[in-house]
Symmetry: C2
Subunit: 249 residues, 2 copies
Amino acid sequence: MLSKNTVKFIKSLHQKKYRTESGMFFVEGEKSVLEVLDSDFLIEMLLITEAFEQKHGTPLQFFTGKIERITQNQLEQLGQYQSNDSALAVVKMKENRAFSPAAGEWTLALDEVRDPGNLGTIIRIADWYGIKRLVFSPQTAEFYNPKVIQATMGSFTRVEFFYENLGEVFARWRQPVYGAFLDGKNIHTLQNALPGVILMGNESKGISQESGHWVTEKVTIPGFGRAESLNVAIATAILCDNFIRISLQ
Amino acid sequence: MLSKNTVKFIKSLHQKKYRTESGMFFVEGEKSVLEVLDSDFLIEMLLITEAFEQKHGTPLQFFTGKIERITQNQLEQLGQYQSNDSALAVVKMKENRAFSPAAGEWTLALDEVRDPGNLGTIIRIADWYGIKRLVFSPQTAEFYNPKVIQATMGSFTRVEFFYENLGEVFARWRQPVYGAFLDGKNIHTLQNALPGVILMGNESKGISQESGHWVTEKVTIPGFGRAESLNVAIATAILCDNFIRISLQ
């Protein structure tokens, strides 16, 4: 049976303050919980419905941690989903390590992307394109925010991320830094591109002056209509698609 | 002064039922209201703060309809924005007309895209790429939903849209129908593409069998990582970017 303290603890994880304090976050929904079971994240506690247990006996049999059986109704009280008939996992955060550049590999850097939905979507895009490492400025949204985790659709288990001052990262960087600017070079006309970092800026302010200083090539997505801009997750997707295509040509 | 009936009427426009009944919807925030003032939409009533009036005298002087002066606090009670210090417009819906294909022009078709945020983001993407016409299956989210209007960032004023049975549209169509499928042809390897319709499917079910029947070329976005799929708005952006690039080569 679910204790009052457990309920209180999981509910506290909706707030950043308590996530930071405990070093824990939660993951909910069938797909995401299965992904975290299949990852190198440490699961502190698994809360599952009977339906989930019956359907996923195989991945569960290799889980040796704490399991609580609960009802759909109880699950929905704990998480952020209106409907959750499967599972919720309380998971240990990973320690933030220092980023070291790896040659010949694409990296994504975010300069203060503030919206959790955007951050989650960008993580999913990085995973799609096989970009394994992401560097976030300290003001970027929190990786473990439940809205970020939800928007990644499980991709949060497959990327490495680093919160660091971008200026310091770029100062020791020896690869191209491609920055997304409205007045950059048309990405469609780029003939070749050595793997490097794709730098995306804040939703309204764009790339900061400090980070912009390190950009070796400004790029832009050509527009053909009258929209003034694109959402940062959309722009990230289009730039990743173009860079990967060009670098494989 | 704002009458109780006006307040009640604007609040009712949060619900589809009352939007349909009255043929009205609302647009809020500085940028979107300026865009609608600059469009061919008929504005029934404009609610503005003193700050908005002082800042935007020029576009306002050509507006001959009803204007109500209200405070930021009142504005925030009426709309969906937590913060709105500028304006809200009550706007007349356009009549739904029948779609007729235009040769040599890109069109976007959505087969039951249900999420209002996705629909709004897709409209903004279409506007960015100069795609002026969108065809929606009847089960697609409602164009005039406030969340759709918000996500378009003003682009809703610059596209034409048609709610129609897609099978009937495609039956009289004489241009390519490019459908987004997970098992289609890699869009990066496409050498040329005649303008036609880009067909995107539902968030979870993809393109329906009925619409899929009319697809002349299945395309896919190549993945290099382990994410199983991309969000439909992200996929739309990447496909539009590729098709426009290829057709201009």
